[in-house]
């Protein structure tokens, strides 16, 4: 506070200072997060913004290029392709991941099912497995000549699938199947916990009124789960838009035939860590991150608001 400040704010600032000193332990307890976030989170993010206006290969001096990286990005066919691939894989995979998980959770929770613990554990197993390991196992399942999936297909009289060849048209489905397999159980467990938190009296009343299972699902379960659906939606958006391990392991850094499996995270990785285009890679990182944050804010607005109205 300056000398000119009036007496009232000064007294307030003194008492504020006293409050802060009285609670110094609390600040000490939260300090690790804010210190580590400042160093490994906030600083890289701000420096990334700075770098996105520069040209730098990590060795020669940093050179200011203005908006050139962003202009290049707009005209970069591979960037747009990678964005399209990522969004396509994310959206198609998440229809069954989110909706299927919700239906599964509803079924597991219903009184018609026994062995609930068994089903929970079985569906959850893939989640504790490393994406790298999952990709390696699916790599053998997808084997073109000796893979199990093609054996099943040819046994029932369907043509075998050339997962990696041709124009790369089977690469996205391969990644999507793997993604669904890994994440369905995670969302199911989250929804199941949410469903179990719903007041059972609501279901009893619905049963007395003769509501069908479908009516119960759409008119009780779904609206009450909205905040949890929002939570999974936000996490899924970040997860799907930054998918890296799976395509890296399945099709490599180029994304396979016709770059069909090239995601934005792979493209960023290539530019930053294969070609050392740090400035351009930072521009990619910023554009994709901005998209993610915008989608998340949109989700929170839409789902969060209808929650308060309901």
């Amino acid at each position: 506070m300056t000398q000119l400040a009036t007496a009232v704010p000064r007294r307030r600032s003194v008492s504020l200072w006293r409050e802060m000193r009285r609670n110094w332990v609390a600040y000490a307890y939260i300090a690790p997060f804010f210190i580590l976030f400042a160093i490994f989170g906030a600083f890289p993010i701000l420096f990334s913004l700075y770098l996105s206006f520069q040209q730098w290969n990590g060795i020669s001096p940093i050179q200011f290029v203005g908006l050139e990286n962003y202009a290049r990005l707009l005209a970069d066919r591979l960037f747009w392709l990678s964005l399209w691939n990522t969004v396509f894989i994310g959206v198609i995979a998440h229809i069954p991941i989110l909706f299927g998980a919700l239906v599964l959770a509803f079924i597991v929770n219903s009184s018609l099912i026994r062995w609930k613990q068994f089903y929970r554990a079985a569906y959850f197993l893939p989640v504790v497995t490393a994406p790298v390991a999952v990709a390696l196992v699916f790599g053998t399942l997808y084997g073109v000549r000796f893979g199990l999936i093609n054996w099943v297909l040819t046994t029932v009289g369907l043509p075998a699938i050339d997962w990696w060849g041709g124009t790369g048209q089977w690469i996205k489905p391969a990644i999507i199947i793997l993604f669904i397999w890994r994440w369905l159980g995670w969302n199911m467990i989250i929804y199941l916990a949410g469903i179990q938190g719903i007041n059972p009296e609501l279901y009893e009343v619905a049963a007395i009124d003769g509501a069908s299972l479908r009516q119960v699902f759409f008119h009780i379960t779904l609206p009450l789960l909205r905040p949890i659906i929002l939570f999974t939606l936000v996490l899924s958006t970040v997860g799907a838009m930054t998918i890296f391990d799976e395509p890296y392991m399945l099709v490599g850094v180029t994304g396979g035939a016709n770059n069909a499996g090239l995601t934005t995270a792979l493209y960023l990785y290539n530019n930053a860590f294969q070609f050392a285009h740090f400035g351009y890679a930072s521009a990619i990182a910023y554009v994709v991150s901005a998209i993610i944050v915008l989608v998340s804010v949109f989700n929170i607005r839409v789902f969060g608001r209808s929650q308060t109205e309901a």
Binding site: M20, N23, V25, A26, Y27, Y29, I30, F33, F37, G41, F43, P44, I45, F47, I95, V103, I107, S110, L112, Q117, F118, Y119, R120, A122, Y123, F124, L125, P126, V128, A130, P131, V132, A133, L136, V137, T140, L141, F146, L148, W151, G185, I190, G194, S212, L213, R214, P227, I228, T242, D245, Y248, A265, L268, F278, S282, A285, Y286, V288, S289, V293
Partner: protein, 303 residues
Amino acid sequence: MTIPDNSIRAGAASTQTTSAAPVHRRWLPMVQRALFNALLLLGAFLSAFPFYWMFVLATQSTQQIYSWPPHFLPGNSLITNYQNMLTVIPFWRNFFNSVFVATTHTVLALLFCSMGGYAFAMYRFPGRNWLFAVLLATLMIPWMAGIVPWFILISKWLHWINRYEALIIPGAASAFGIFWMRQYIQESIPVELIDAARIDGCPEYTIFFRVVAPLLLPAFAALGILIFVGNWNAFLGPLLVIQEKIMYTLPVALSLLRQDPKRGFDAGVLMFGTSLATLPMLIVFLLATRQFMAGLTIGAIKG
């Protein structure tokens, strides 16, 4: 993808029949139950089968794996695969690296997260609300936003290439973990307990480390498993930072197993390594399913 399909049909059938014909009410639940059970069983099979397949292939030779039709039962090349694997990667060293990194990271993270969660749950200090809002907002930031300078920081300024600090420290005070601990502490630790300790003249740090921390043991188990598994499975960080075979953690070592310099691609060896790397997590999960589920759901639901 047949999963949502079938269940919608099952639901639709139920509304039609219940409203149209009361006679059907008696057998309808049985049909529904059979349908639901069949559906769940199929899903559980699809969920678990790749694990079975991984373990089976780990016991087979390349000739067996590349034969038609496939062999569904274990072969007898388990030991050969093990020996061949050791010629490509120093597996047990990599295994130990993973154990060391994940354990130290988890211990550090539990300390920071419980401290942070406790402060946000139990103290009313100036700036608490907006500091907490900042913490929550960081959850929405994707890792890629700052990955380029993050790597420059790690490699050029901190000189952490091939050092485990880079895998242990940066994510140790996770926003998710602090949020999680705050929820847990708010619900399970009575404020009266802390007030009573204060009246007895306990210093603030003694209250946390001697009075509160012992009560948090179940929370440490639940959140700890979650953090441990996440660190054990991490790939991109170790891929960027660790550049020597002997220093690799398991996921990076596995990615190397795909290419055996001497014999080329060997699916049996690859599946053997993958099985061995996956097995500890499966065991941890099966032994501590309850803690695991609690860990997940507290973070998600009580928000």
